[in-house]
C-alpha cells in the first residue's frame, strides 16, 4: 500500500529525519499564500502515487508566489500515468551540494531486509547500478537480531563515501532501517537525500510502501496520516464494480470469491484460484476472448459467496455469458461452486444452460457437482479437457453468439 509523498514525509518528520518547510495545498490561492510564507524559491509537486512526475511536467519551480499560483493551475489537470492529483505539495527549494540515494526494501533471495545506498542520488538507481556499480552498495541486515548503526555506516562506506558525510548520513540511514522494520514497510526510499550548500542534510523526496497485510497492526499511524480503511492504494482506484466484488468476499469468512478486477470485455469470468486465474485469464486472451473481469475463487468458498459473485458479474452491462473454470481443485468443492453459480444465474433471471458458457472445475466432489450441472443442462467438462481448451470452448461460444 503506497503512501503519497506528503504522507511519507510526515512519517519521516515524526521520526526526526531532516525536512524543509512545506505545505499541502488544494487551490491556487493557497499555493500563493504558502509560497509567500515559505519565502524564496519553491517547488510544486503533484501528489500522485505513480512515478514519472517530472517527465509528465507535474513538478515545477517557482521564484515568486504568483508564479507558484500559476504553476498550481498548470499542474492540477496533468495526469501522471492516468492519475490526477487531489493536492499539490509546495516546498522550499534548497540549493543542493550533493545528492544521495537510500532505500530499504526486502531481498526475497536472502529473505532479509536490504539497505541500498548510493552517492549518485536523484537519478534512476537501477541505471546507476548498471553503469556505476561501485557507487551502489547493497547491505543485508537481520530482521530478527537487534540492529545497530554500524550497519548503516557499512552501507554508506561501501558506496565510497567517507569523511563528515559518512558520519552525518549514518543516523539518517539507520533511522530509515528502523522505520522500515517497525512499520512493516516493503519500501522506504529517500531519493534524493541531499547535502545542502549550507552543509545540512534534507530529505527532498521520499516514497513509502506498507505491506497491505500489516495495515491492522498500524492503525494508529494510518489514522494519524489520514489514510482511510477503504483506500486500496492500488495502481489505480477501484471501480464501483470492484468495490461490489470486495463486498461479496467480505460477507463471510469461508473461502475466497473476490479479488475482482474490471476489464472492458464481454465474457464474464468466474475463475480460480490464485495461479489458476492467471493461467485462465491468459488462455482466454490467447484464444481472442475479451474478459469482462478478473477474479479468484478458492479456499472452499460458501455457496452464497459463489452465488453473489456470479450475480455481480452477470449484472455487468454487456456480459452475456460467464465461463466457470479452475484448476483441479483440492479443498474447494466442485459441487458447492456448481450450486453457487447456478443459483446466481437463476437469481439474476438467467437460464444457467445459456448463461454458463463452460464449467471446467475438476477435483474434489466432482461426481456430485457434475450431477448438478447435468440436471440444469450446463455444458461442463472434466480434467481431460485442459484449462486452455476449456477457455477456447467458452470463447468459441461467445464468437458464435455474436
Amino acid at each position: 500500500m503506497r503512501f503519497y509523498e506528503y504522507e511519507s514525509k510526515a512519517l519521516f518528520e515524526k521520526r526526526g529525519l531532516p525536512l524543509g518547510p512545506r505545505h499541502l495545498v488544494t487551490s491556487a490561492d493557497e499555493a500563493r499564500a504558502k509560497a509567500a510564507e515559505i519565502g524564496g524559491s519553491v517547488v510544486l509537486k503533484s501528489q500522485v502515487l505513480s512515478g514519472g512526475r517530472m517527465k509528465a511536467g507535474a513538478v515545477k519551480f517557482a521564484d515568486t508566489p504568483d508564479e507558484a499560483a500559476a504553476h498550481f493551475e498548470a499542474i492540477l489537470p496533468i495526469e501522471v500515468r492516468g492519475e490526477k492529483p487531489h493536492s499539490i505539495l509546495v516546498e522550499s527549494k534548497s540549493p543542493i551540494a550533493q545528492e544521495y540515494y537510500v532505500a530499504v526494501t526486502w531481498d526475497g533471495r536472502n529473505k532479509k531486509p536490504v539497505v541500498i545506498f548510493s552517492d549518485m542520488g536523484g537519478i534512476d538507481i537501477e541505471e546507476v547500478a548498471e553503469t556505476h556499480p561501485e557507487h551502489v552498495s547493497k547491505t543485508n541486515f537481520s530482521s530478527l537480531l537487534p540492529i545497530t548503526p554500524r550497519l548503516a555506516k557499512e552501507a554508506i562506506g561501501a558506496a565510497t563515501v567517507s569523511g563528515s558525510d559518512l558520519n552525518k548520513l549514518t543516523p539518517i540511514v539507520f533511522e530509515l532501517m528502523k522505520i522500515f522494520l517497525e512499520y512493516d514497510l516493503t519500501l522506504a526510499e529517500i531519493n534524493p537525500l541531499a547535502r545542502l550548500e549550507d552543509g545540512s542534510f534534507a530529505v527532498l523526496d521520499g516514497h513509502i510502501d506498507m505491506e497491505a497485510e500489516a495495515r491492522g497492526s498500524h492503525k494508529a499511524l494510518l489514522k494519524e496520516l489520514g489514510i482511510g480503511d477503504d483506500e486500496t492504494r492500488q495502481a489505480r482506484p477501484p471501480t464501483p464494480f470492484e468495490i461490489e466484488g470486495a463486498k461479496v468476499n467480505a460477507v463471510d469468512h469461508r473461502g475466497v470469491a473476490g479479488n475482482v478486477v474490471e476489464f472492458d470485455g464481454d465474457l464474464g469470468l468466474v475463475i480460480g484460484a490464485g495461479g489458476g486465474s492467471l493461467t485462465l485469464f491468459d488462455a482466454v486472451r490467447k484464444h481472442g476472448g475479451k474478459p469482462a473481469n478478473y477474479c479468484e475463487i478458492g479456499g472452499n468458498p460458501s455457496q452464497s459467496k459463489a452465488k453473489n459473485l456470479t450475480k455481480l458479474i452477470l449484472s455487468k452491462p454487456g456480459v452475456d455469458k460467464i465461463a466457470v473454470m479452475m484448476n483441479v481443485v483440492s479443498n474447494t468443492r466442485v459441487d458447492i461452486v456448481a450450486r453457487g453459480v447456478i443459483a446466481g444465474c437463476i437469481e439474476a433471471g438467467r437460464d444457467p444452460s445459456e448463461a454458463i458458457a463452460i464449467f471446467r472445475i475438476p477435483g474434489a466432489w466432482e461426481e456430485e457437482g457434475f450431477k448438478i450441472l447435468e440436471k440444469y443442462g450446463v455444458d461442463y467438462c472434466d480434467r481431460s479437457v485442459s484449462m486452455y481448451d476449456a477457455a477456447g470452448r467458452a470463447v468459441a461460444k461467445m464468437q458464435a453468439g455474436s
Binding site: A273, S386, M387
Partner: protein, 302 residues
Amino acid sequence: MSILIDKDTSFIIQGITGREAVNLTRENLDYGARIIGGVTPGRAGRDIYGVKVYDCVRDVVKHEGQPYGSIVSVPPRFTKDAVFEALENDIKLIVIVTENIPRREVAQMVELANLRGARIIGPNCLGMISPGEAKMGGVGGPAANTRQAYTKGNIGVMSRSGGMTTEIASTLTAAGLGQSTCVSIGGDAIVGTTYAELMPFFEDDPATEAIAIYSEPGGRMEAELAEWIAKNNSRLPVVAFMAGRFMDEMQGMRFGHAGTIVEGKEDTTADKIQRMEAAGISVAERIEEIPELIKQRLAEKK
C-alpha cells in the same frame, strides 16, 4: 525415492482443531501420514480422528516423542509464535499453510529456522507430497482425489501455486509420467524455500529425472533458479509453465498471490522467460505441453 518426506516422516499439526486443519488431518491420515499429535492451546485432551491434542508442542514431545515435522495452520497473527515454538522444540521441517502473514514475520521465521538448522515450506502453501509415500499438507485434497491426480514416478514438481501443483501433477499422470515429490512452495513474496533451494535435493534424489515448475510474475525466484541451473550444470532437465503473461502490461496491480505484482522489468514474464530459456529451461505456454516437453528433454539426454 523422494525428497523431504517419505512414509516414515512423523509430524504434528499446530492449530489442529481449526476448520481447515481438521480436514487436513483426515486427508493426510487417509493418505498414510504419521501424525503423532496435534496442538491447540486450551484444547488438550481432545481427539481428532485418533490424533491426541495437546496445549503446546513441548507436551507432544514429552508424551508422543520427537516429531520431525509440523504443519502450521493457525490464524496469521499467531503464526510466528507457533513457528518459533516448533523451531525451539527441535522440529526440522515446517509447512506453513497460513496466508496473509506480513513479510517481516516470515523473514524472522526463516532467520530462526536457518539458525536452528530447520526448513520452512510456505507460507501460503498446500505443502508437499511424495506420491505413494506420504503427504504433508492439503495438496491434492481428500486421499481419493489425491490418488487420482498424483502417481509415483520420476518427475519433481515445484509450484508457487497450490492449485496448479495438482493441475500439473494430474496432467503428468494422464501422460504416464509419475512424480517423485511435488512441493507447493507458497505464493508469498518471501517463502521459506525457493525453487533454487529445492534443486539440490532433487539433484541428489536418484528417483528424480526431470523437473516441472509453475511460475508467475513478481519476485526473483525464477531468475535465481536460472542462475542455479547455469552455475551447477544440473543433470535435470527443467520445464517451466509461465502464467500471468497479461500482467506485463499492468504495472503495479496485484493479481493472484501476494507475491504476484509487476513493479520492475525483472518482475515481468517476458524477462523471466528470457532468463529461464537462456539457462536451458524449456518454457511451456500451456500446461498440456509440459509432458511432451519433458519427454523430449529426457530423450535428448539419452
